[in-house]
């Protein structure tokens, strides 16, 4: 118990000392709950302890809902992906990762809740948690531990080349990792600054001690980053203490709602009718989707860079001159819209938090990463004006009433994938059939009406005639034979003429 108090106090102190550098009014820095400790804007003005209490109350309720939503969306996503042949492999991997994460989070939640209610037995539950972390159930984490083992082995091999320094680094890193495991439930901002500080400290130490050439230090830092981040990945990627997951879903939904955006609207200088270009576009999309499956921030960055290179190639083939930033950014936006990479926001946050910061502010990787950030921000803010559309059109497309593609189906590029072409043909056919059906229905109705009119007309005519000439029933006539019998005056008639023969 003492140890926990000690740690929390240390943290407060360090926060204080950090604040001293920046000149802000002291009263604004105190925790909003008035516990006397310092608050932090990242924790909405609470101190870490109060914030965690507040946050967990609200969060516990929401988590269940979010999971359900996430699960459903993921299922939809999976179905959508299953139908596209290009990224089948990548998807199965992401999906399994997602499952893994979910299960992992569940166990984590249990311990968090347990801890939350049994503050007095804190140390005990923490211990249990560490054991849990050290002995993860094999079925969930088999894939993870294989990768972790491999990276650990590589790391040790790498450090062996440095003899004594290597040993020290290993010890330090190990210690750092254990400390991180121990405090896994603290906020992510804090995790992130821990990692960043660790980077800085290690770099400094190495520079001081050995006067190593900077390239060498950089190489060691890369290895350390790889090792640490592989081990910490599942605890710090998209952690539940932040709203990364919600943002992910928001971005995903947004991109899905923008499915109708065409390259022409974004002024993308890429002509997908050229097979080489469409090949590059597909490759770029695969790369950006692959980013989610990497664990080390630097590997994620490498995926972005690879994607960017493919984009540059695509532009170069189309325009026959090297692409400038004016061409690149729109194309990247288009690729992101088309690919809808999974957990985009989480990935960006993760890279920002845990990558060696010098890599994000400068260097080629940093440049492409910045471009990706721009693309995502642009997509979030995108409106009618940025697509050169009228507000009505934009609203109509967004609400899904019409799609510009449907109207333009005749000039659908001939080199598009066969299935898509077939689909558009079928859509065309269907709409034609629909039209004909409607026409037939109309005509049938008209015919029905005509028929009814006709019968009515006939009936009316008959009626008229009947009215005009009413039926008179005469007394029944005598039988034909009796005609003569009643004719009394018959007797008065002269006898019938007898035939006379004249000799001629």
């Amino acid at each position: 118990h003492f140890l926990v108090c000690y740690l929390i106090n240390r943290k407060k102190m360090s926060l204080k000392s950090e604040r001293r550098g920046i000149h802000v009014d002291q009263s604004e820095l105190l925790c909003k709950k008035g516990c006397g400790y310092y608050g932090n804007p990242a924790w909405q003005g609470f101190c870490s302890k109060c914030w965690r209490e507040e946050y967990h109350k609200a969060r516990q309720k929401q988590i269940q809902e979010d999971w359900e939503l996430a699960e459903r969306l993921q299922r939809e996503e999976e179905e959508a992906f299953a139908s596209s042949q290009t990224s089948q492999g990548a998807q199965s991997l992401t999906f399994s990762k997602f499952e893994e994460k979910k299960t992992n989070e569940k166990t984590r939640k249990v311990t968090t809740v347990k801890k939350f209610f049994s503050a007095s037995s804190r140390v005990g539950s923490k211990k249990a948690e560490i054991q849990e972390a050290k002995a993860p159930s094999p079925s969930i984490n088999r894939q993870t531990s294989i990768e972790t083992d491999r990276v650990s082995k590589e790391f040790i091999e790498f450090l062996k080349t440095f003899h004594k320094t290597g040993q020290e680094i290993y010890k330090q890193t190990k210690m750092f990792l254990e400390a991180m495991h121990y405090k896994r439930n603290l906020s992510t901002t804090w995790d992130s600054s821990c990692v960043q500080n660790n980077y800085k400290n290690l770099t400094k130490k190495k520079k001081k001690r050995k006067r190593m050439p900077p390239e060498r230090v950089e190489k060691i830092m890369d290895q350390i980053e790889k090792y640490i981040m592989t081990r910490l990945y599942k605890y710090v990627f998209c952690p539940e203490t932040t709203d990364d997951e919600k943002k992910d879903l928001a971005v995903q939904k947004r991109i899905r709602a923008l499915h109708w955006v065409t390259p022409q609207m974004l002024c993308v200088p890429v002509n997908e009718e050229i097979p080489e270009v469409s090949d590059m576009v597909v490759k770029a999309i695969t790369d950006i989707i692959e980013m989610d499956s990497k664990r080390v921030p630097r590997d994620k960055l490498a995926c972005i860079t690879k994607c960017s290179k493919h984009i540059f190639n695509a532009i170069k083939i189309t325009k026959d001159e090297p692409a400038s930033a004016d061409d690149f950014l729109p194309t990247l936006i288009y690729i992101v819209l088309k690919g809808n990479p999974p957990r985009l926001q989480s990935n960006i946050q993760y890279i920002t938090r845990f990558c060696n910061p010098s890599r994000l502010m400068s260097g080629e990787d940093g440049y492409y990463f910045t471009n990706l950030c721009c693309a995502v921000t642009f997509i979030e803010k995108l409106d009618a004006q940025s697509l050169n559309l009228s507000q009505e059109d934009f609203d109509r497309y967004m609400s899904g009433q019409t799609s510009p593609r449907k109207q333009e189906s005749e000039n659908w590029s001939p080199d598009a994938c066969l299935g898509v072409k077939q689909m558009y043909k079928n859509l065309d056919l269907l709409s034609q059939l629909n039209e004909r059906q409607e026409r037939i229905m109309n005509e049938a109705k008209k015919l029905e009406k005509d028929l009814i009119d006709w019968t009515d007309g006939i009936a009316k005519k008959v009626q008229d005639i009947v009215e005009k000439c009413p039926l008179e029933i005469k007394p029944p006539n005598q039988s034909l034979a009796a005609i003569d019998s009643e004719n009394v005056e018959n007797d008065k008639l002269p006898p019938p003429l007898q035939p006379q023969v004249y000799a001629g």
């Binding site: 943290k11 400390a179 960017s308 502010m361 921000t377 642009f378």
Partner: protein
């Protein structure tokens, strides 16, 4: 945040790295300027695929420095996201087209964006009027540009990327200014060392998590 001091520190024998952002509206010749400067080339077929990110080592007397040139998308609609490029920049090149008054106004707008992101004096800003080879169609006079630059204390130059006129000079001027400022800063650090040590950052935290 922690990123603020994450700039690569120059090691022994390694040149300072400076990040330079190219700003300006579409088709004023940002990329062409950079291309001309880095490869001495004006839009011919290049072995490299992209020309949005360049590096170039500049020798200035005894010292050398490395430029990292970040091209940005100039279209109006991307204006709102461009501040993301500014992070960690040391210099900015505001490019306008002397044949277009509009691009000159846009450059002034970019300057306002820069001022929002940086403290005065934090970045070296240079105003560049490009396309002097089209001086018959000139809409912005040399004096206009110069006056504006002086009023905002920016460096100023007119260039032609097509004719390779004053391109290298413009970048060199930035490099000189950057080095001067770096030296001045070093002096200040030496003098105000005690004060700065306080702001060095939370050292206690790092120890805390390593334990």
């Amino acid at each position: 945040m922690a990123q603020a001091d994450g700039r690569p520190q120059p090691g022994a024998g390694q040149p300072h790295v400076f990040k330079l952002v190219l700003l300006g509206s579409g088709s004023v010749g940002k990329s062409s300027l950079a291309l001309r400067y880095v490869k001495n080339d004006f839009k011919s077929i290049l072995p490299t695929v992209g020309c949005a990110f360049f590096t170039k080592v500049v020798e200035l007397g005894a010292t050398s420095l490395k430029f990292e040139i970040w091209d940005t998308a100039g279209q109006e609609k991307y204006h709102s996201v461009c501040h993301l490029y500014f992070r960690g920049a040391n210099a900015a090149l505001l490019v306008y087209d002397i044949t277009s008054k509009d691009s000159f106004h846009k450059a002034q707008q970019w300057l306002k964006d820069l001022e929002r992101e940086f403290l005065p004096g934090e970045v070296v800003v240079m105003l560049v009027g490009n396309k002097t080879d089209l001086s018959e169609e000139r809409e912005v006079t040399f004096e206009e540009g110069k006056e504006f630059a002086e009023s905002q204390s920016l460096l100023f130059m007119e260039t032609s990327a097509r004719l390779n006129h004053q391109v290298t000079e413009a970048f060199s001027a930035i490099a000189r200014e950057l080095l001067q400022r770096a030296e001045r800063k070093e002096d200040q650090t030496r003098r105000g060392g005690a004060r700065l040590a306080l702001n060095q950052g939370p050292m206690g935290r790092a120890k805390c998590c390593a334990r």
